[in-house]
Symmetry: C2
Subunit: 206 residues, 2 copies
Protein backbone atom coordinates (compact mmCIF):
# COMPACT_ATOMS: atom_id res chain seq x y z
CA UNK A 1 0.00 0.00 0.00
CA UNK A 2 1.50 3.30 -1.06
CA UNK A 3 0.59 6.32 1.02
CA UNK A 4 2.03 9.78 0.68
CA UNK A 5 1.61 11.52 4.00
CA UNK A 6 2.52 15.12 4.81
CA UNK A 7 3.05 15.65 8.52
CA UNK A 8 1.54 19.07 9.32
CA UNK A 9 2.28 18.99 13.07
CA UNK A 10 4.67 21.26 14.93
CA UNK A 11 7.34 19.49 17.02
CA UNK A 12 7.01 19.78 20.80
CA UNK A 13 10.22 20.83 22.60
CA UNK A 14 11.37 23.22 25.35
CA UNK A 15 12.42 25.87 22.82
CA UNK A 16 9.28 25.85 20.65
CA UNK A 17 7.07 28.92 20.16
CA UNK A 18 4.30 29.06 22.77
CA UNK A 19 1.29 31.28 23.32
CA UNK A 20 2.17 34.17 25.68
CA UNK A 21 1.59 33.07 29.29
CA UNK A 22 1.38 29.33 28.53
CA UNK A 23 3.75 26.99 30.41
CA UNK A 24 7.09 26.19 28.78
CA UNK A 25 7.16 22.59 27.53
CA UNK A 26 9.57 20.33 29.40
CA UNK A 27 11.00 16.93 28.49
CA UNK A 28 13.06 15.34 31.24
CA UNK A 29 14.78 11.93 31.20
CA UNK A 30 13.68 9.91 34.25
CA UNK A 31 14.97 6.44 33.33
CA UNK A 32 18.00 5.67 31.15
CA UNK A 33 19.13 2.71 29.06
CA UNK A 34 22.42 2.52 30.99
CA UNK A 35 20.94 2.45 34.48
CA UNK A 36 17.40 1.16 33.97
CA UNK A 37 17.45 -0.83 30.72
CA UNK A 38 15.10 1.53 28.90
CA UNK A 39 14.78 5.29 28.47
CA UNK A 40 11.60 6.98 29.73
CA UNK A 41 10.89 10.71 29.93
CA UNK A 42 8.50 12.94 31.83
CA UNK A 43 6.79 15.50 29.61
CA UNK A 44 4.84 18.59 30.56
CA UNK A 45 3.14 21.32 28.51
CA UNK A 46 0.02 23.44 28.27
CA UNK A 47 -3.18 21.98 26.83
CA UNK A 48 -2.93 24.37 23.82
CA UNK A 49 0.73 23.74 23.00
CA UNK A 50 1.92 23.17 19.44
CA UNK A 51 -0.56 21.68 17.01
CA UNK A 52 -3.70 21.25 19.14
CA UNK A 53 -7.47 21.35 19.19
CA UNK A 54 -9.61 23.66 21.30
CA UNK A 55 -12.51 21.91 23.03
CA UNK A 56 -15.72 23.90 23.60
CA UNK A 57 -14.89 23.84 27.35
CA UNK A 58 -11.92 26.12 26.54
CA UNK A 59 -14.38 29.04 26.43
CA UNK A 60 -17.85 27.72 27.41
CA UNK A 61 -18.55 26.72 31.02
CA UNK A 62 -20.91 23.94 29.91
CA UNK A 63 -18.94 23.04 26.77
CA UNK A 64 -17.81 19.47 26.09
CA UNK A 65 -14.25 18.54 26.99
CA UNK A 66 -11.60 17.32 24.55
CA UNK A 67 -12.12 13.61 25.31
CA UNK A 68 -15.79 14.04 24.29
CA UNK A 69 -15.04 15.61 20.90
CA UNK A 70 -16.19 13.25 18.12
CA UNK A 71 -13.29 12.21 15.91
CA UNK A 72 -15.49 11.95 12.80
CA UNK A 73 -15.41 15.70 12.27
CA UNK A 74 -11.60 15.70 12.43
CA UNK A 75 -11.24 13.22 9.56
CA UNK A 76 -12.17 13.83 5.94
CA UNK A 77 -11.57 15.72 2.74
CA UNK A 78 -10.00 19.11 3.34
CA UNK A 79 -9.63 22.24 1.25
CA UNK A 80 -6.40 24.10 1.97
CA UNK A 81 -6.51 27.80 1.00
CA UNK A 82 -3.43 30.00 0.93
CA UNK A 83 -3.89 33.43 2.52
CA UNK A 84 -0.24 34.02 3.27
CA UNK A 85 -0.20 37.04 0.93
CA UNK A 86 -3.60 38.26 2.14
CA UNK A 87 -4.07 41.17 4.56
CA UNK A 88 -4.29 40.58 8.31
CA UNK A 89 -7.99 39.64 8.27
CA UNK A 90 -9.59 36.79 6.35
CA UNK A 91 -13.18 37.77 5.55
CA UNK A 92 -16.16 35.81 4.29
CA UNK A 93 -15.69 37.40 0.91
CA UNK A 94 -11.99 36.38 0.82
CA UNK A 95 -13.03 32.79 1.56
CA UNK A 96 -15.75 32.83 -1.07
CA UNK A 97 -13.40 34.05 -3.80
CA UNK A 98 -10.52 31.73 -2.83
CA UNK A 99 -12.69 28.61 -2.65
CA UNK A 100 -14.49 29.24 -5.98
CA UNK A 101 -12.15 27.14 -8.13
CA UNK A 102 -12.70 24.10 -5.87
CA UNK A 103 -16.52 24.35 -5.89
CA UNK A 104 -16.91 21.33 -8.19
CA UNK A 105 -15.20 18.96 -5.73
CA UNK A 106 -17.78 17.12 -3.61
CA UNK A 107 -17.69 16.20 0.08
CA UNK A 108 -15.17 18.72 1.37
CA UNK A 109 -15.88 18.94 5.10
CA UNK A 110 -12.73 20.58 6.46
CA UNK A 111 -11.14 23.94 5.70
CA UNK A 112 -7.47 24.71 6.32
CA UNK A 113 -6.11 28.26 6.19
CA UNK A 114 -2.45 28.86 5.41
CA UNK A 115 -1.71 32.30 6.77
CA UNK A 116 2.07 32.38 7.15
CA UNK A 117 1.19 32.90 10.83
CA UNK A 118 -0.06 36.48 10.62
CA UNK A 119 -3.64 36.44 9.36
CA UNK A 120 -6.82 35.77 11.34
CA UNK A 121 -10.47 35.14 10.63
CA UNK A 122 -12.88 38.02 11.14
CA UNK A 123 -16.53 37.61 12.11
CA UNK A 124 -17.69 37.42 8.48
CA UNK A 125 -15.11 34.71 7.81
CA UNK A 126 -16.32 32.67 10.79
CA UNK A 127 -19.92 33.12 9.60
CA UNK A 128 -19.04 31.98 6.06
CA UNK A 129 -17.43 28.80 7.48
CA UNK A 130 -20.48 28.12 9.67
CA UNK A 131 -22.93 28.70 6.80
CA UNK A 132 -21.00 26.36 4.52
CA UNK A 133 -21.23 23.41 6.90
CA UNK A 134 -17.58 22.66 7.61
CA UNK A 135 -16.90 20.37 10.58
CA UNK A 136 -13.35 21.61 11.27
CA UNK A 137 -11.23 24.72 10.67
CA UNK A 138 -7.46 24.44 10.86
CA UNK A 139 -4.94 27.29 10.84
CA UNK A 140 -1.17 27.62 10.99
CA UNK A 141 -1.37 30.63 13.30
CA UNK A 142 -1.44 30.53 17.12
CA UNK A 143 -5.15 31.44 17.07
CA UNK A 144 -8.06 31.63 14.61
CA UNK A 145 -8.86 34.98 16.30
CA UNK A 146 -6.95 38.23 16.28
CA UNK A 147 -4.73 38.06 19.42
CA UNK A 148 -6.69 38.67 22.65
CA UNK A 149 -10.07 38.34 20.86
CA UNK A 150 -12.36 35.29 21.25
CA UNK A 151 -15.22 36.21 18.87
CA UNK A 152 -14.28 33.69 16.17
CA UNK A 153 -13.75 30.95 18.78
CA UNK A 154 -17.28 31.62 20.10
CA UNK A 155 -18.84 31.55 16.65
CA UNK A 156 -17.09 28.30 15.62
CA UNK A 157 -17.11 26.29 18.87
CA UNK A 158 -20.65 27.52 19.60
CA UNK A 159 -21.72 25.91 16.33
CA UNK A 160 -19.96 22.61 16.94
CA UNK A 161 -17.09 23.35 14.54
CA UNK A 162 -13.68 22.02 15.64
CA UNK A 163 -10.73 24.41 15.81
CA UNK A 164 -7.20 23.14 15.09
CA UNK A 165 -4.42 25.69 15.66
CA UNK A 166 -0.64 25.83 15.08
CA UNK A 167 -0.54 23.52 12.10
CA UNK A 168 2.69 23.49 10.12
CA UNK A 169 1.45 24.14 6.57
CA UNK A 170 4.67 25.34 4.98
CA UNK A 171 5.11 22.17 2.90
CA UNK A 172 1.48 22.11 1.72
CA UNK A 173 0.15 24.07 -1.24
CA UNK A 174 -3.40 25.20 -1.93
CA UNK A 175 -5.53 22.21 -2.93
CA UNK A 176 -7.64 19.31 -1.74
CA UNK A 177 -6.28 16.59 0.56
CA UNK A 178 -7.29 13.80 2.87
CA UNK A 179 -6.96 15.20 6.40
CA UNK A 180 -6.79 13.65 9.82
CA UNK A 181 -6.15 15.25 13.18
CA UNK A 182 -6.02 13.04 16.29
CA UNK A 183 -5.81 14.90 19.63
CA UNK A 184 -4.69 13.14 22.82
CA UNK A 185 -7.66 11.83 24.79
CA UNK A 186 -7.08 13.82 27.98
CA UNK A 187 -10.08 13.34 30.27
CA UNK A 188 -12.01 16.54 31.16
CA UNK A 189 -9.48 18.81 29.46
CA UNK A 190 -10.13 22.08 27.58
CA UNK A 191 -7.93 21.16 24.63
CA UNK A 192 -5.13 18.79 23.72
CA UNK A 193 -2.01 18.57 21.60
CA UNK A 194 -2.63 16.58 18.44
CA UNK A 195 -0.88 15.02 15.49
CA UNK A 196 -2.28 16.12 12.14
CA UNK A 197 -1.53 14.81 8.66
CA UNK A 198 -2.49 15.31 5.03
CA UNK A 199 -2.81 12.40 2.60
CA UNK A 200 -1.83 13.11 -0.98
CA UNK A 201 -2.91 9.99 -2.79
CA UNK A 202 -5.74 8.55 -0.78
CA UNK A 203 -9.14 9.69 0.31
CA UNK A 204 -11.54 8.22 2.74
CA UNK A 205 -14.14 6.15 0.99
CA UNK A 206 -17.45 7.98 0.61
Amino acid sequence: MHKKIIDISVGISPDMLIYPGDPKPQVETIFSIEKDGAKVSCISFGSHTGTHIDAPSHIFKDGITVDQVQLNGLVGKALLLDFSTNGELITGSNLKVASRRFEHIPDITIILLKTGNFAYLDKSGAHWITRNGFTTVGVDSMSVDVPSEMMVHEQLLGNGINIVECLDLHEANEGVYGFMCLPLKIIDCDGAPARAVLFLDCFFQE
Copy 2:
Protein backbone atom coordinates in the same frame (compact mmCIF):
# COMPACT_ATOMS: atom_id res chain seq x y z
CA MET B 1 -19.13 11.34 4.02
CA HIS B 2 -20.01 8.53 6.41
CA LYS B 3 -17.22 7.16 8.54
CA LYS B 4 -17.54 4.68 11.35
CA ILE B 5 -14.61 5.17 13.69
CA ILE B 6 -13.81 3.12 16.78
CA ASP B 7 -11.61 5.02 19.21
CA ILE B 8 -9.13 2.48 20.61
CA SER B 9 -7.24 4.93 22.84
CA VAL B 10 -7.12 4.90 26.63
CA GLY B 11 -8.11 8.17 28.34
CA ILE B 12 -5.33 10.08 30.11
CA SER B 13 -6.17 11.15 33.67
CA PRO B 14 -4.57 11.24 37.14
CA ASP B 15 -6.29 7.99 38.17
CA MET B 16 -5.46 5.92 35.08
CA LEU B 17 -3.43 2.72 35.20
CA ILE B 18 0.28 3.40 34.72
CA TYR B 19 3.37 1.23 34.32
CA PRO B 20 5.03 0.64 37.71
CA GLY B 21 7.49 3.47 38.42
CA ASP B 22 6.19 5.82 35.73
CA PRO B 23 5.13 9.34 36.80
CA LYS B 24 1.49 9.86 37.73
CA PRO B 25 -0.31 11.92 35.06
CA GLN B 26 -1.38 15.38 36.21
CA VAL B 27 -3.88 17.82 34.70
CA GLU B 28 -3.96 21.21 36.46
CA THR B 29 -6.10 24.23 35.54
CA ILE B 30 -3.84 27.27 35.11
CA PHE B 31 -6.29 29.74 33.48
CA SER B 32 -10.05 29.83 33.98
CA ILE B 33 -12.98 31.16 31.97
CA GLU B 34 -14.12 33.32 34.92
CA LYS B 35 -10.79 35.05 35.58
CA ASP B 36 -8.97 34.80 32.29
CA GLY B 37 -11.65 34.44 29.60
CA ALA B 38 -10.54 30.94 28.57
CA LYS B 39 -9.61 27.73 30.36
CA VAL B 40 -6.08 26.35 29.87
CA SER B 41 -4.47 23.41 31.69
CA CYS B 42 -0.96 22.20 32.34
CA ILE B 43 -0.52 18.49 31.66
CA SER B 44 2.30 16.16 32.64
CA PHE B 45 2.86 12.44 32.15
CA GLY B 46 5.46 9.85 31.24
CA SER B 47 6.42 9.29 27.61
CA HIS B 48 4.90 5.76 27.74
CA THR B 49 1.59 6.71 29.37
CA GLY B 50 -1.73 5.38 28.11
CA THR B 51 -1.93 4.44 24.44
CA HIS B 52 1.58 5.20 23.17
CA ILE B 53 4.32 4.18 20.80
CA ASP B 54 7.82 3.09 21.76
CA ALA B 55 10.55 4.69 19.68
CA PRO B 56 13.72 2.66 19.01
CA SER B 57 15.57 5.13 21.31
CA HIS B 58 13.52 3.66 24.19
CA ILE B 59 15.95 0.73 24.26
CA PHE B 60 18.72 1.41 21.69
CA LYS B 61 21.30 4.12 22.36
CA ASP B 62 21.54 4.99 18.67
CA GLY B 63 17.85 4.36 17.92
CA ILE B 64 15.68 6.98 16.23
CA THR B 65 13.50 9.15 18.44
CA VAL B 66 9.71 9.34 18.31
CA ASP B 67 9.61 12.49 16.16
CA GLN B 68 11.67 10.62 13.52
CA VAL B 69 9.33 7.62 13.30
CA GLN B 70 7.72 7.51 9.84
CA LEU B 71 3.94 7.76 10.06
CA ASN B 72 3.41 5.56 6.98
CA GLY B 73 3.96 2.39 8.98
CA LEU B 74 1.37 3.47 11.54
CA VAL B 75 -1.40 3.79 8.95
CA GLY B 76 -2.95 0.96 6.97
CA LYS B 77 -4.97 -2.20 6.94
CA ALA B 78 -4.83 -4.05 10.26
CA LEU B 79 -5.64 -7.59 11.33
CA LEU B 80 -7.00 -7.75 14.86
CA LEU B 81 -6.58 -11.18 16.50
CA ASP B 82 -8.24 -12.13 19.76
CA PHE B 83 -5.98 -13.94 22.24
CA SER B 84 -7.93 -13.03 25.34
CA THR B 85 -8.71 -16.70 26.01
CA ASN B 86 -5.18 -17.80 25.09
CA GLY B 87 -2.53 -18.71 27.63
CA GLU B 88 -0.07 -16.12 28.92
CA LEU B 89 2.30 -16.38 25.95
CA ILE B 90 1.44 -15.74 22.31
CA THR B 91 3.71 -17.89 20.18
CA GLY B 92 4.50 -17.91 16.47
CA SER B 93 2.36 -20.98 16.09
CA ASN B 94 -0.59 -19.28 17.88
CA LEU B 95 -0.28 -16.36 15.45
CA LYS B 96 -0.07 -18.65 12.43
CA VAL B 97 -3.21 -20.58 13.38
CA ALA B 98 -5.23 -17.48 14.36
CA SER B 99 -4.37 -15.55 11.19
CA ARG B 100 -5.10 -18.44 8.81
CA ARG B 101 -8.70 -17.50 8.07
CA PHE B 102 -7.63 -13.98 7.00
CA GLU B 103 -4.86 -15.17 4.65
CA HIS B 104 -6.87 -14.31 1.51
CA ILE B 105 -7.09 -10.60 2.44
CA PRO B 106 -4.36 -8.60 0.69
CA ASP B 107 -2.26 -5.73 1.96
CA ILE B 108 -2.54 -6.25 5.69
CA THR B 109 0.47 -4.42 7.15
CA ILE B 110 -0.46 -4.06 10.81
CA ILE B 111 -1.21 -6.68 13.46
CA LEU B 112 -3.24 -5.95 16.61
CA LEU B 113 -3.36 -8.38 19.51
CA LYS B 114 -6.31 -8.35 21.88
CA THR B 115 -5.06 -10.02 25.03
CA GLY B 116 -7.47 -8.86 27.73
CA ASN B 117 -4.30 -7.36 29.21
CA PHE B 118 -2.65 -10.53 30.37
CA ALA B 119 -0.93 -12.16 27.42
CA TYR B 120 2.45 -11.32 25.92
CA LEU B 121 4.44 -12.20 22.83
CA ASP B 122 7.21 -14.71 23.19
CA LYS B 123 10.34 -14.80 21.02
CA SER B 124 8.73 -17.08 18.43
CA GLY B 125 5.75 -14.70 18.19
CA ALA B 126 8.04 -11.73 17.65
CA HIS B 127 9.93 -13.69 14.97
CA TRP B 128 6.70 -14.67 13.19
CA ILE B 129 5.68 -10.98 13.06
CA THR B 130 9.10 -9.97 11.72
CA ARG B 131 9.12 -12.73 9.09
CA ASN B 132 5.64 -11.77 7.88
CA GLY B 133 6.61 -8.17 7.13
CA PHE B 134 4.28 -6.24 9.43
CA THR B 135 5.14 -2.56 9.95
CA THR B 136 3.39 -2.20 13.32
CA VAL B 137 2.30 -4.38 16.24
CA GLY B 138 -0.35 -3.07 18.62
CA VAL B 139 -1.40 -4.61 21.93
CA ASP B 140 -3.91 -3.79 24.66
CA SER B 141 -1.47 -4.80 27.40
CA MET B 142 1.06 -2.50 29.11
CA SER B 143 3.90 -4.19 27.20
CA VAL B 144 4.43 -6.55 24.25
CA ASP B 145 6.96 -8.31 26.49
CA VAL B 146 6.44 -10.32 29.65
CA PRO B 147 6.84 -7.77 32.50
CA SER B 148 10.51 -6.85 33.12
CA GLU B 149 11.65 -8.54 29.87
CA MET B 150 12.77 -6.59 26.77
CA MET B 151 13.46 -9.41 24.29
CA VAL B 152 10.39 -8.83 22.13
CA HIS B 153 11.00 -5.05 22.13
CA GLU B 154 14.53 -5.71 20.86
CA GLN B 155 13.37 -8.07 18.15
CA LEU B 156 10.62 -5.75 16.88
CA LEU B 157 12.24 -2.30 17.25
CA GLY B 158 15.54 -3.72 16.01
CA ASN B 159 13.76 -4.70 12.80
CA GLY B 160 12.03 -1.35 12.30
CA ILE B 161 8.63 -2.58 13.46
CA ASN B 162 6.59 -0.04 15.43
CA ILE B 163 5.22 -1.00 18.84
CA VAL B 164 1.91 0.47 20.05
CA GLU B 165 0.96 -0.42 23.64
CA CYS B 166 -2.07 0.13 25.92
CA LEU B 167 -4.69 0.15 23.19
CA ASP B 168 -8.29 -0.14 24.34
CA LEU B 169 -9.56 -3.04 22.21
CA HIS B 170 -12.58 -4.08 24.25
CA GLU B 171 -15.06 -2.73 21.66
CA ALA B 172 -13.27 -4.31 18.71
CA ASN B 173 -13.74 -7.90 17.59
CA GLU B 174 -11.38 -10.10 15.61
CA GLY B 175 -11.30 -8.94 11.99
CA VAL B 176 -9.76 -6.56 9.47
CA TYR B 177 -9.94 -2.77 9.87
CA GLY B 178 -8.44 0.48 8.67
CA PHE B 179 -5.99 1.53 11.41
CA MET B 180 -4.28 4.77 12.24
CA CYS B 181 -2.13 5.67 15.20
CA LEU B 182 -0.76 9.21 15.49
CA PRO B 183 1.75 9.81 18.31
CA LEU B 184 2.59 13.32 19.54
CA LYS B 185 5.65 14.73 17.78
CA ILE B 186 7.84 15.20 20.84
CA ILE B 187 11.33 16.14 19.69
CA ASP B 188 14.13 13.71 20.73
CA CYS B 189 11.81 11.63 22.91
CA ASP B 190 11.88 7.85 23.50
CA GLY B 191 8.14 7.40 22.99
CA ALA B 192 4.95 9.41 22.98
CA PRO B 193 1.29 9.13 23.89
CA ALA B 194 -0.86 8.66 20.78
CA ARG B 195 -4.44 8.57 19.62
CA ALA B 196 -5.33 5.40 17.74
CA VAL B 197 -8.48 4.56 15.79
CA LEU B 198 -10.04 1.80 13.72
CA PHE B 199 -12.16 2.52 10.64
CA LEU B 200 -15.00 0.12 9.98
CA ASP B 201 -16.21 1.16 6.57
CA CYS B 202 -13.27 2.74 4.87
CA PHE B 203 -9.86 1.64 3.78
CA PHE B 204 -6.99 3.60 2.54
CA GLN B 205 -6.78 3.50 -1.22
CA GLU B 206 -4.28 0.97 -2.49
